[in-house]
């Protein structure tokens, strides 16, 4: 069956360090992958999209990589700040019907 995995355990990072979150998938061949941020009590907010033919995408302190051979995307936040603390979700398209399939998210905690 199709599956997306994100670390279920919270990731604790010291302020100023780089946070790296992982999104692994099986039995998919997505055309693109999206990353969202979700704060408690709020809806997800779009951050970045990366296509299958792109290896890396950057936006300010954010960087996403996409390895279709490993079936994995890495999401990096450099120079992390306490305000970056949130849950980060990855989502992949289902090429057959264009619906997004979502990971359960990883909670990131940046400690001052």
């Amino acid at each position: 069956s199709q599956k997306i995995e994100q670390n279920s355990e919270a990731l604790n990072i010291q302020e100023g360090k780089t946070a790296t979150l992982t999104c692994n998938y099986t039995n998919y061949s997505p055309a693109y992958l999206q990353w969202y941020r979700q704060d408690p009590g709020r809806g997800p907010v779009f951050l970045l999209l990366i296509r299958e033919n792109e290896k890396e995408k950057r936006k300010e302190r954010l960087k996403v990589t996409f390895d279709t051979t490993l079936k994995q995307s890495l999401f990096h936040i450099t120079a992390s700040q306490p305000a970056d603390s949130a849950t980060y979700l990855c989502a992949l398209d289902q090429s057959s019907n264009y619906q997004l399939i979502w990971g359960a998210g990883t909670k990131l905690i940046i400690k001052p």
Binding site: I4, A31, P44, F46, Y98
Partner: protein, 119 residues
């Protein structure tokens, strides 16, 4: 205010009652979605709509009904609420759907969510 809104934000109901969750967007986006979010699960798609009067089932449609008579509104109805439908419900909209290489894409914009408790 512009954006996507949901109402109510919180709802407590009893098993067997009908409940309608409202979703309104001001962008005139073609696509709208209803998801549920449960602890330990990713967002799961209930229903989506490509345009007014066009709706389709998602991953978990059983027990839910949707309609879309106007582009800006996409209400979700639980016909006879069950305890398993206790969840946080998110509405989202998108200008279009991505269709692979060479296709346009758009991110999904989410509402603030409705926390529904079925007793």
């Amino acid at each position: 205010d512009a954006g996507i809104t949901q109402s109510p934000r919180y709802k407590i109901t009893e098993t067997g009652r009908q409940v309608t969750l409202m979703c309104h967007q001001t962008w005139s986006h073609s696509y709208m979605f209803w998801y549920r979010q449960d602890l330990g699960h990713g967002l799961r798609l209930i229903y989506y709509s490509a345009a007014a009067d066009i709706t389709d089932k998602g991953e978990v449609p059983d027990g839910y009904v949707v309609s879309r008579s106007k582009t800006e509104n996409f209400p979700l109805t639980l016909e006879s609420a069950t305890r398993s439908q206790t969840s946080v419900y998110f509405c989202a909209s998108s200008e279009s759907l991505a269709g692979g290489l060479g296709s346009s894409y758009n991110e999904q914009f989410f509402g603030p969510g409705t926390r529904l408790t079925v007793l």
